[in-house]
């Protein structure tokens, strides 16, 4: 492990052992539904409250990923997890049922990649052998937290995104597997002074562009080095802004897609501008992208997750919405 450039890290020995995903009904019906390990017929996930439902999603992916990797609870050295609830209670309440050390992190919707960066440090320094990186989001808990009650009849503009109900887990290890985590770039908080809380994609796009630019210049790579550059949840409007900012800097990315646009069928599902939330990148990366990497259809993928740093109080106080973005590169090794 060493520092590269200003904000980047080069990892030597971090591999993806297994991944697992669990979602609600809407994600299962989406284009990548067949890659999802477990799904529920409604948002309740057989639980009494939305928060409990989100906990259940997290527990599912822990169980499934352990089973897939033929590991037991005692083999895990650390859980790094986060979500969007106040004081990340869902992650903490999930961790209380396991006899494993836990680091709770909050990185808004960047959590899936941020947890990988945090976890990879312990793996690469050979401190721990197996670390589980976990994230989740839930449509109803986020609506309750950041917007209006779910049954409220207010009209949402087309720019709003739909929070993904789902959880994704990645077990990383220092034993060699086919998928290696090679590079990471820690992003900066970028404030473009955009204030529309119903259009978060555009608020986050500048930070994603800065992180990508920083990543490419730190490692001195062209954008074409990667088979796919994937952003977290910029949605329709945000990804256009992202491309436009990069054009200003003479970076052309033909190999680009956005998790928020991949998880739902935007034409046939009522999801406005696309998916968002921690679970968005968490589910897409840990199901579809990992499957493509295992099949070696994709060999080098850069995932940049983006987070909007706000809460209902800050938006009511008319503060702008800064964004943050972290990047991790997955590469197939022989």
């Amino acid at each position: 492990m060493k520092r590269v450039g200003k904000n980047s890290i080069l990892f030597d020995n971090v591999y993806v052992l297994e991944t697992a995903t669990s979602t609600g009904p809407r994600e299962k019906k989406g284009p990548i539904g067949e890659y999802i390990d477990k799904d529920y017929e409604n948002l309740n996930c057989l639980e009494k409250s939305w928060e409990k439902a989100e906990c259940r999603l997290q527990k599912d992916v822990i169980e499934i990923s352990l089973k897939k990797a033929s590991l037991e609870e005692k083999d895990l050295d650390l859980i790094v997890s986060g979500d969007l609830n106040n004081q990340i209670v869902v992650s903490s309440f999930t961790a209380k049922d396991y006899d494993i050390p836990h680091i709770g992190i909050y990185g808004a919707c960047t959590t899936s990649i941020l947890s990988l960066i945090v976890g990879s440090n312990y793996i690469d320094t050979k401190t721990f052998n197996n670390v589980l990186c976990l994230t989740s989001s839930h449509y109803a808990t986020s609506e309750k937290q950041f917007r209006f009650p779910t049954e409220y009849g207010g009209q949402k503009p087309d720019t709003t995104t739909t929070t993904v109900t789902g959880s994704g887990a990645t077990i990383i290890t220092n034993q060699k597997t086919t998928i290696k985590i090679t590079k990471a770039t820690i992003g900066k908080v970028i404030d473009a002074e955009y204030k529309d809380a119903q259009d978060l994609g555009k608020a986050m796009a500048p930070s994603a562009a800065v992180t990508l630019k920083q990543h490419l210049s730190d490692f001195n790579l062209p954008a074409s080095y990667y088979d796919l550059i994937l952003t977290g949840d910029l949605s329709l409007g945000g990804s256009k802004v992202f491309i436009d900012i990069l054009k200003e800097w003479d970076i052309i990315i033909p190999n680009y897609n956005d998790c928020g646009l991949m998880i739902y069928d935007l034409n046939n599902q009522e999801v406005f501008s696309g998916g968002s939330g921690c679970g968005c990148a968490g589910v897409v990366v840990n199901s579809y992208i990992m499957a493509l990497l295992r099949k070696k259809i994709l060999k080098k993928v850069l995932v940049i997750t983006t987070g909007a740093l706000m809460n209902p109080i800050s938006t009511a106080q008319k503060e702008s919405i800064p964004g943050i973005a972290h990047a991790v590169a997955f590469e197939v090794v022989e």
Binding site: G5, K6, K48, S49, W50, E51, K144, F148, P149, T150, E151, Y152, G153, G154, Q155, K156, P157, D158, T159, I190, D191, A192, E193, Y194, D199, K202, A205, P206, A209, V210, K213, Q214, S217, D218, G237, K240, V241, D244, I245, E248, W249
Partner: protein, 160 residues
């Protein structure tokens, strides 16, 4: 666009942040709201809600022979009941997405905001959840109603 940084005896390239580039890109990709479509839906659906209300009011007065004031109150109560029921069944938010102002300007919107807040907070218990959060959205209407009616009421009282 770039700045050279000097960190631990090496030079690094760091992006110089120009917020103008970001703001221009955001401005360029501004999403337009479908104002015409929304307006037509709001007008027609809001109008239809009021039309149904007027029909109910006339029926109450003609058939059940109630006086004007009672008919008005009964009509409002019928709409409040319907709105709360549809909210509970999870249909009002879908109606509101299509109707826009046609759903939140009539009194049905008031009942919807009460019921939706109450149902949403159910998981936190009856007292701390339902009772404390019921007026989370609708409280604003009560406050402005009381404040403005005292304000203008005083003016009318003095000018009388």
């Amino acid at each position: 666009m770039y700045k050279k940084y000097y960190i631990s005896s090496k030079y690094y390239e760091v992006i110089f942040l120009d917020k103008k580039i970001f703001q221009e890109a955001i401005e360029k990709n501004k999403t337009k709201r479908p104002i015409l479509k929304n307006s037509i839906y709001a007008f027609v659906i809001g109008g239809l809600v009021c039309l149904v209300g007027e029909v109910i009011r006339l029926l109450l007065m003609r058939i059940f022979k109630v006086d004007n004031k009672t008919a008005n109150t009964l009509m409002l109560l019928i709409f409040i009941t319907l709105s709360s029921l549809f909210t509970g069944l999870g249909l009002y938010d879908k109606f509101g997405q299509i109707a826009g102002a046609g759903a939140f300007v009539p009194i049905t919107g008031f009942a919807n905001s009460l019921t939706s807040s109450a149902i949403e907070s159910k998981s936190e218990g009856i007292v701390l959840g339902t009772m404390m959060n019921m007026f989370k959205l609708a409280g604003a209407i009560i406050v402005i109603g009381a404040v403005s009616s005292v304000l203008f009421g005083t003016i009318i009282y003095l000018l009388r």
